[in-house]
Amino acid sequence: MNTDIVKKIKNRRLRSKLITYLIVIVFYVVVQILINTGNLSSLLTGLLVPICVYVIAAVSLNLVVGISGELSLGHAGFMCVGAYTSAFLSNVVGSALPETLRFILAILTGAVFAGLFGLLIGIPVLRLKGDYLAIVTLAFGEIIKNLMNVVYVGIDSKGLHVSTTSAMDLHLEPTGKQIIKGALGISGTPKNSNFTIGVILILLTLFIVQNLIDSRSGRAVMAARDNRIAAESIGIPVTKFKLLAFAVSAALAGVAGVLYSHNLATLNTKKFDYNTSILVLVFVVLGGIGNIRGSMIAAVILTALPEMLRFLSNYRMLIYAIVLIVMMLFNWAPAAREWRERVLSRLPFGRRKAVGKEEV
């Protein structure tokens, strides 16, 4: 009987994870069918990779906001780091490596650099008790964006040249190659991203985040979130685990950036501003803080919606706003939550009432 309840908890978690993967796969198959039958507008087709970018960004941000209980307002900054470092790598490597290998390397580069920036910010800030992370990440996002706007980087036989004034100041050899061109960004990045790759990266992100949450480290992160003093009283190094969650989240945001930069002929900083950080946060809040599946669904719906509503022309943003409000109510109004719990508990695979906010 003891083991029954343990098994029940285990199975519930496993099922919850599998459902999340399944949703992604079904979404993928449906989209493929729509494409193959010519039922997906070219505008929507063009949105498929950005949708994947936002899903990865939202899921990773939820790790910080929902699971670790910290507020980050600079997620676009980590996406920016991932986008630029990976695009840089792909341009430098060029055709020296097979395409698949180069792209895998680019993904790793984006993840590692974004993760490093996460550590760099997290180490001093997460020691402090209070909402300092929000302020610092906000500043970080703006600084990274402005920095990338003025940086010129080129490469020649002598190595890397960096300047913050102009392309001329790089003093490249005639055979040298200019890669980052200030406000003009990076152009000529190989277009390695596509919907399939995007979905694979979503699944990978979900795998990492969901399994992390459902592990010893995940419990430590959530314990630190629920009650810092109690977590310390049972010997959990709170700062270390907050840092872990933050760095993993930053690295995954970096992966979103890689997907983004390898989908564009020209990469610049315009998209990596405060608005994007807030947009991703909106996905997380609307999808339900701590609810990984919810943030994923919110990201898809809210990215695709403006396009799908195009036929409504002027009423488009009105409908968009209404959808936002409805989602907000659905996820947050007490009455709606009760209703959902009641419905869920009636379903055969539903969970017992009062269980499962830690849901993965």
Binding site: N2, K8, S215, R216, N227
Partner: protein
């Protein structure tokens, strides 16, 4: 040898001497009570022992090891676990996970092992589940293992806090008003549980309590605090019949 050896422990907040020269020695396996009127400094003693506050003076030794001035995490690792007067559970996590989290430093596997679902993770998780259910059973919480801690009734939340503390496998367990908010039935049940924990886990327990029935029922020795100072100390019956104690505390 004493498990806990406290010598002249003191702290002041501004001008207030919240704890002033607290000295105590607790033997292994003892059930020791710390009593005193509201605001006497009892919880502050716990906060000093567990590193939440740094003492302005005094020495704390646990099992011969000087732990004065260490932080909460180090002190828990050294072997002191506690519960809180105002319950501090991980309320958005299931009951089972609250206890499993208590085992954090006892059963380990790396983050990567967890993400990759390696065999070691399953092995450790199985042990964790087993041991956690064992502890939950002691407190009659095993049937509610899957309920969110925050949704437990008050009395059970208090018990779960003790269960979580025990999971850290401490040498000394500090309970801050474990019977607060419990009805007489629950309290007498709790007394049995505390005795069982002491015997079954070979535990040394220091507890703060206002409920005199509980104190006189299970504590072998007592210290009485009043305005941060020790008023009396010794065998329970002796202390409770001390006229000064009656005047300062019981008579009020």
């Amino acid at each position: 040898m004493a498990i806990l050896d406290v010598n002249k422990l003191s702290i002041s907040f501004g001008g207030l001497h919240a704890v002033d020269g607290f000295t105590v020695s607790i033997e292994k396996g003892e059930l020791y009570g710390l009593i005193g009127p509201n605001g006497a400094g009892k919880t502050t003693v716990f906060n000093l022992l567990t590193g939440v506050y740094k003492p302005t003076e005094g020495i704390v030794r646990l099992d011969g090891q000087d732990i004065t001035g260490k932080n909460t995490i180090e002190i828990n690792r050294a072997g002191i676990a506690r519960t809180f007067q105002n319950i501090r559970l991980f309320k958005d996590m299931p009951v089972l996970d609250n206890v499993k989290t208590g085992f954090h430093n006892r059963y380990r596997y790396s983050t990567l092992t967890g993400i990759l679902r390696l065999p070691r993770m399953h092995q450790v998780e199985n042990t964790l589940n087993e041991r956690s259910m064992e502890i939950l059973k002691v407190f009659g919480l095993d049937k509610e293992a899957d309920v969110l801690a925050g949704n437990l009734p008050y009395g059970k939340q208090r018990k779960l806090e003790i269960a979580r503390a025990l999971a850290t496998e401490p040498k000394l367990l500090l309970l801050d008003e474990p019977a607060a908010g419990m009805n007489p039935n629950e309290t007498s049940e709790l007394m049995d549980t505390i005795r069982f924990v002491r015997d079954h886990f070979d535990m040394t327990i220091l507890l703060i309590e206002h409920d005199m029935k509980l104190v006189s029922g299970i504590c072998e020795k007592l210290s009485v605090l009043n305005f941060g100072r020790l008023l009396a100390q010794g065998e329970t019956a002796e202390v409770l019949s001390n006229p000064e104690v009656i005047a300062a505390y019981l008579g009020q």
